[in-house]
């Protein structure tokens, strides 16, 4: 087969014809029956047709591929022009008119064909897009006053053939045709003004009058000029046809009034637009449907369940099979219930079916359920197809859109292409709209997924710097960074002790990791911080702030996870993994009186600490903490402790009124962690009883910290808890050996303990901060709710 060159008009025409024949939308194979009818419509002798088929290779292949089809069309044109049929003639014959496919039915068609063929010469007039579906409704025109109408006999003769394929043929053609029209409402030349209503109604009249065949009456045979059709239509008793057509006659009602109004409305509409969709619902019809809907379901926005709809439509006495088909067409979202739009579509289909129209394979556009409100239903009749376009796709809920593709695929592809596109557009937009909220969540988890701050076992300056950078980097990336910055700000503001600063001071903990088991501390602190971050990261997402995690005493809950028992049992200064939470006994707060004593050690500790701090510039604000702790450690080393009385004094001072006379015990009691409470209670008295000096210094730093925390946090409970924890921490301190002889060891032990305390306090701080954040979020959400409610209060 030689290559085929087609002009533009030919290309368009051929592709349209191919689509027309491609009822199964394979885009590759054309149904033989269709093609044969098409060729028959070309008014060529049969042997010529056979010859054409042979030449194009269809007989060889057994089917009509696209190329075969095109070649065949070209050969048809060749034959019609009178040229001998030869393979070479495909390309050699120049200026070949477009093949004419006449249904050979009635004069109108032939007339049109004539006009069409004359137009075919013109480039742009790619008219006669769709050859009249051969052997279709033209028959009905018999009654039309056209003597030249091809005798019905031929049409009838073809009828036996057409019904064979009617179920498939009729539906696609019409919608396809109509769609073309609706798609190119302005393309007068490309779309022959199908004079939709013309052929539509007149055949319909035919159907009523005599046709028994269920052929798609509305398949527009080559649309004669509208006026002509109009005239023809007028010849036939329009009212009768309309009467039969109107649903009023179908269903129980037969009000003449509605019929008359429908008639006028239909006529008017037909005059106005020649692209009317035969499936469009008139206003009166729509109103009627709505009324019927109301009888079943008073709520116009509600659904009619399948069972009720079944009963209702069974009354129309259509066969169940057809009702089932109608249901498939009209239940757009496949939910087993009918919305108002779906119901109207179903009703309309029932009406049409009752009047002899074949059911389409696919729901026509104008019957597609629309998202437009009922008020807009009046607009249904105005624009052909466009309304269907605008409305139909948008309706399906986004969840349906994924399923719609599968549904759409079952329909002839060509019929679906346009709606498919619009549908996808709409669905995507609606998807974006509806998924807007959900998109927030995914976005934030990313930010909330704070890359866990890696914690090295061995400290190093570089590592600490990295840690700091990472921490700050992660801070920047997640919304909690401001929060994390806050503590530092607060710290700076209030010169908070290291405990508070430790919330953001991972590196500090890392710096402390020089001691053996402190590796666990930074981890836990890190986890603490990450927890905080993650929590704060996710919280903005929630429309309603998550209820603050049950934290009667956050510090305790967390610390409990750290096995306070263990920490308390190991108050000898041994640091174990996981012990971090346990506020190790705060090294006895250095007493001023003992300044000279620990001075020896102070530089050592301070240097050690300060060096750590110096390595990380970001930790500058924390240096004062170091200084504090160095003092603590110094004090611890020097075993300078206040009297127990101090502790007793300070605790009441520090703690809010809740504190009992025995501040330590009360503090511990306040703890949620029963374990810790018990432990601390046990240890505290023990510690207290042990010696005053060890306890003395701790209370002071505790107090200091508590005070600062007080300034920071308004919550008293937490303070009490914190103080309790701190007290526990301090309480454990007494275990520090006081022997001066083992200064270094003691110093190291105290250092470790201090570090532990730091970590614990840092965690506490982070928890408190988290709580604060939660409370703030709650507040914000409440404010939002209040604002939402407020406008309504005016109503």
């Amino acid at each position: 087969m030689e290559g085929l060159t087609l002009s533009d008009a030919e290309q368009k025409y051929y592709s349209d014809l191919f689509s027309y024949c491609d009822i199964e939308s394979t885009k590759k194979v054309v149904v033989n029956g269709r093609v044969l009818e098409l060729f028959r419509a070309a008014q060529l002798p049969n042997d010529v047709v056979l010859q054409i088929m042979e030449l194009c290779g269809a007989t060889r292949l057994g089917y009509f591929g696209r190329s075969q089809f095109y070649i065949a069309l070209k050969l048809v044109a060749v034959a019609q022009s009178g040229f001998p049929l030869r393979v070479e003639s495909i390309n050699t014959v120049k200026d070949l008119p477009l093949p004419r496919f006449v249904a050979s039915k009635n004069e109108q068609e032939s007339r049109h064909a004539a006009s069409y063929s004359s137009d075919s010469e013109n480039q742009g007039s790619y008219s006669g897009v769709i050859p009249p579906p051969p052997g279709r409704g033209q028959v009905k025109k018999g009654s039309v006053s056209h003597d030249t109408v091809q005798p019905r006999t031929s049409a009838d003769a073809q009828e036996p053939a057409s019904p064979v394929v009617s179920p498939q043929q009729s539906p696609p053609t019409s919608p396809h045709t109509w769609r073309k029209h609706s798609r190119h409402p302005s393309g007068g030349n490309s779309e022959r003004p199908l004079a939709g209503p013309g052929p539509f109604w007149s055949p319909f009249g035919e159907a009523q009058s005599g046709s028994s065949a269920g052929d798609a009456v509305w398949s527009g045979h080559s649309p004669p000029p509208p006026q002509e059709n109009w005239v023809s239509f007028a010849d036939t008793p329009p009212t009768s046809t309309l009467l039969t057509m109107h649903p009023a006659s179908v269903q129980d009602q037969t009000t003449v009034r509605t019929v008359a109004s429908a008639t006028t409305a239909i006529e008017i509409r037909r005059q106005s637009s020649s692209y009317d969709d035969p499936w469009k619902i008139t206003d009166e019809q729509r109103q009627y449907y709505v009324n019927q809907f109301k009888t079943i379901q008073p709520d116009l926005n509600g659904f009619i369940p399948g069972s009720a709809a079944k009963e209702f439509f069974t009354k129309s006495k259509l066969p169940i099979l057809e009702l089932s088909h109608i249901w498939e067409l009209s239940d757009f979202d496949k939910d087993g219930a009918l919305t108002l739009d779906e119901f109207c579509a179903a009703f309309h289909l029932v009406v049409a079916r009752k009047n002899g129209y074949d059911l389409p394979e696919k729901l026509p556009e104008s019957l597609m359920p629309k998202l437009i409100d009922l008020e807009d239903s009046a607009d249904v009749g105005d624009q052909p197809g466009e309304v269907g376009y605008s409305g139909s796709p948008a309706e399906a809920p986004p969840s349906k859109s994924p399923s719609m593709p599968s549904l759409n695929q079952t329909w002839p592809e060509l019929n679906q292409s346009s709606e498919w596109e619009t549908f996808s557009e709409r669905s995507s937009s609606s998807q974006t709209l509806t998924q807007f909220d959900s998109n927030i969540a995914p976005a934030d988890p990313d930010t909330a997924i704070v890359h866990p701050v890696p914690i090295r076992m061995t400290p190093s300056k570089i590592h600490m710097q990295e840690m700091e950078l990472k921490r700050t980097g992660s801070d920047h990336t997640n919304p909690t960074s401001p929060l994390l910055v806050k503590p530092s700000d607060l710290l700076e503001e209030n010169k908070i002790n290291s405990s508070v600063k430790f919330a953001s001071g991972n590196t500090v903990a890392d710096g402390y990791s020089s001691s053996d088991s402190f590796t666990s501390d930074p981890e836990q602190i890190g986890s603490n911080v990450t927890r905080q971050r993650s929590h704060s990261g996710t919280s903005p997402d929630n429309t309603a702030p998550p209820p603050p995690p049950p934290r009667p005493q956050p510090s305790h809950s967390r610390s409990s996870s750290l096995d306070m028992n263990r920490t308390f049992t190991v108050t000898t200064g041994q640091q174990q993994a996981g012990v971090v939470a346990h506020p190790p006994a705060v090294p006895p707060r250095p007493q001023p009186s003992q300044a000279p004593g620990p001075a020896v050690h102070r530089p050592v500790d301070a240097d050690g600490l300060i060096t750590h701090t110096s390595t990380s510039p970001q930790q500058i604000p924390e240096q004062p903490n170091f200084a504090d702790f160095s003092q603590f450690e110094v004090f611890a080393a020097s075993n300078v402790n206040d009297e127990q009385d101090d502790e007793a004094e300070k605790h009441p001072e520090v703690l809010p009124a809740e504190k009992a006379s025995d501040p330590a015990s009360s503090l511990r009691v306040a703890k949620t962690d029963s374990k810790t409470e018990e432990k601390t209670a046990a240890s505290a008295p023990a510690n207290v009883s042990k010696g005053t000096t060890p306890l003395a210094p701790p209370p002071k730093p505790v107090r200091r910290r508590l005070k600062s925390e007080d300034e920071l946090r308004p919550e008293v409970d937490e303070h009490t808890q914190k103080t309790g924890v701190l007290a526990a921490v301090l309480a454990s301190q007494p275990s520090i050996p006081r022997s001066v002889g083992k200064d270094k060891k003691a110093i190291q032990a105290s250092i470790r303990r201090n570090k532990e305390t730091n970590t614990v306090l840092a965690r506490l701080n982070s928890e408190l901060q988290q709580q604060l954040k939660d409370v703030l979020e709650e507040r914000i959400s409440l404010e939002v709710q209040l604002e939402q409610l407020r406008p309504f209060s005016h109503l």
């Binding site: 394979t26 590759k28 498939e328 599968s406 079952t410």
Partner: protein, 137 residues
């Protein structure tokens, strides 16, 4: 791609069966019928405890010289059996799965139709099935 598609009810009678017309249909009917035993075997092999976790897609039921038979069962024990041509090597497992999924969706759509009596022959599959089968060309 599929040469034959069948929907079999719980009681093992066919609700819908369709083959490409070019072949001897009876042969496909027979293949589907024999594949039911394999389907039952696969279902029972899962064990009662695993009923919930049982996957709907059964996979290749059994291959013959010319054809391969795939199975799929729904939770209501409605079985879908598909016979594909062995020569069609491009057909991969997930494609079969997607075809079964489409079948299942269409089946549920049919079920949603109030005019459909469960147990009746299914008339509404043709379009979709045709789209699956016509691609053989």
């Amino acid at each position: 791609m599929a040469v034959c598609i069948a929907v079999i009810a719980k009681e093992n009678y066919p609700l819908y069966i369709r083959s490409t017309p070019t072949e001897n249909e009876l042969k496909f009917h027979y293949m589907v019928h024999t594949s039911l035993d394999v389907v039952d075997e696969k279902i029972s092999a899962m064990g009662k405890a695993l009923v919930d976790q049982r996957e709907l897609y059964l996979g290749l039921l059994y291959p013959t010289e010319d054809y391969k038979v795939y199975g799929y069962v729904t939770n209501s024990k409605v079985k879908f059996v598909m016979v594909v041509d062995s020569s069609n090597t491009a057909l991969r497992d997930n494609e079969i799965r997607s075809m079964f999924r489409k079948l299942h969706n269409s089946y549920t759509d049919v079920m949603c139709n109030p005019f459909y009596n469960p147990g009746d022959r299914i008339q509404a599959f043709d379009n979709m099935v045709t789209s699956m089968m016509i691609q053989v060309c």
